[in-house]
């Protein structure tokens, strides 16, 4: 089986083939033998035959809002997208490098303040909207420099997770 996997800003080509009891995993042309034990629906124990037989504990989950996978390798979370799915998720709301940036509510809550107006020039990390959720006021910030094209957020309105709040051009 062949997969295109985007991780750390690079697309990796990975194939997985069964060889007896273990798996032969080829990553961008290099092949390792991987002994995979399934612990539960999300958790795998991998023993990868490199110079040493290295043991990794990995937990894979998908983010309901973006469709992205998060792979916990040990204690380190890694964002992963399979077969280009991350790119489509980016169009929906992530911090794309070019094209309009859509700022969405990361959780359900209430819009407390809208800090910008349509036409405003904004800088990366500038606060745009304040959403109250879980007893805390949370600032949602611009992912990059740009101009506010549309404002969909209304002060006082309740919003669902994924609701479009601001578009930056």
């Amino acid at each position: 089986m062949q997969y295109e996997i985007e991780v750390g800003g690079r697309t990796r080509h990975v194939t997985v083939a069964r060889t007896g009891g273990t798996l032969a995993v080829t990553l961008d042309g290099r092949t390792w033998h991987v002994d995979a034990a399934r612990i539960d629906a999300h958790t795998l124990s991998l023993v990868v035959d490199k110079v040493w037989r290295k043991s990794y504990d990995v937990v894979t989950t998908s983010d309901a809002a973006t469709g992205q996978l998060t792979v916990l390798v040990g204690e380190t979370p890694v964002a992963v997208a399979m077969n280009g799915r991350r790119q489509s998720a980016r169009k929906d709301g992530g911090a794309a490098v070019s094209g309009p940036q859509r700022v969405v509510a990361p959780m359900p809550g209430k819009v407390v303040r809208v800090l910008v107006q349509a036409g405003d020039a904004v800088r990366a990390r500038q606060p745009l909207v304040v959403v109250e959720a879980m007893k805390m006021e949370n600032e949602l910030r611009a992912g990059r420099d740009g101009t506010v094209a549309h404002i969909h957020a209304q002060e006082g309105a309740s919003v669902e997770a994924g609701a479009l709040l601001v578009v930056i051009q």
Binding site: T76, V80, M107, M134, L140
Partner: protein, 529 residues
Amino acid sequence: MCRPGADTLVRPYKYNGSALVKKILIANRGEIAVRVIRACREMDISPVAVYSECDRPAMHVRLADEAYPIGPSAPRDSYLRIDRIVDAALKAGADGVHPGYGFLAENEAFAAAVRDAGLIFIGPTPAAIETMGSKTEARRAAERAGVPVVPGTNDPIAADVPDANIAAAADRIGYPLLVKAVAGGGGKGMRTVVDRADLASAVRAARSEASAAFGDAAIYLERRLTRPRHIEVQLLGDAGGAVLPFVERECSIQRRHQKVVEETPSPAVSPSVRRAITSAAAAVAKGVGYTNAGTIEFLLDEDGRFYFLEMNTRLQVEHPITEMVTGVDLVQWQIRIARGETLTLDPDALLAPRGHAIECRIYAEDPDNNFLPSPGRIAALRTPGGPGIRDDSGATEGLDVPIFYDPMISKLVAWADDRPRAIARMRRALGEYRVAGIKTTIPFFTWLLAQPEFVDAAVHTTYLDEVLKARSGRPFVEPTLEVQEIAAIAAAVQAALSPAPVAPHNGASTVNTAFHWKSQARIEGLRQA
């Protein structure tokens, strides 16, 4: 669960008090409700839970002997409903009510309603809650006990006081200063003013926040000390007037006035400061006839002088670290005091800590995204264990972290025989902790505990805000190339091995289930291609 009826379990507990307590209702949720349930079980007391709509599958409901619904998920419709909670306690035939912390824990009307219903409130008297709950009253109580307070206005400044009078008071105190809500807490209704010109707008902002959060627009002014440390003293007081202080806790690691890491003993407190600050705390509590568990907070300046800050008339989130170094179960003592027992603890032992303990508050927040809350379903959970580790949690695998409440999911505590070993142990435990499906502050703690300022204990209450600002959003954990490759391999192996790589749990959330079906369909579609 197969368990004999509560009445067959309850045996007379050996005690020297006057009231028999066989059943306790816990007016709270999450990890603190679980903590109180554990204390009840160890004392052969039957624990009773209350729950809001979204908390039906929560851990505290499952661990209790009885559970009563108290309304919709929003706190004001359930965990803040005094009438419904008292009704549940009466219906259950409980003898006592434990408020936990947060919600109604510092609400004198709740304590009074419990008492008026003929039940025991496991906490201080309504009068003590009222006196120490007002920050200006509390300052006066400290001054009466001869304990220094941070220079500031001693009377609340009501909403109709003209700006000119406030400015004159501010000039007497000196800048920089803090504008604080009289009824405040948790950093709400608080503003720092460095420049005289910003005073009026800061007062307006603090008033509007205070009146929205606490229904009281009264404020007061307090000088802002430079680089102070937050030192606090845990106390227990009994009905006979005895007040015993415990070795101090340090909580200087704060983000926007909220504690995130606590430790005891404080590396900045000498034996002579310890004697002085603990007896000052006891004097303030004695002066107001304080009973049950409480904590007096101080600021310690760079010259070793300390100032009374406020009193919390309840159990604290960080109580486990005190339990770890003194061996005293504070929640059990709350119950024992409430049923009339006298304190039989050795006062000297409470001030002679054994080893060192550190607590990290594990939040469902995304540290790499400005600590935004990260509610959702906990897909997988593995808690650390082994020597010296205590995880006080209310979370389980498959449970949703609701959006309605404080997003703290666990308090991770490490104990060791000294501070460097406690830090090493905490780092080890953070490495074992696995929470998947939601973002947590675990990567942030891994970073923080490696910072030289933390390791050297060269911290103060604004240290964390300053370094976070300087980092300006850089991720706390950057995956190495090796880790990225393993993640890619894992994702591929997971997809190859399993027809449903992210299988739905048996819970009730249709949103997530729908999503998992969608992702499964998507992956199966890809496999056909």
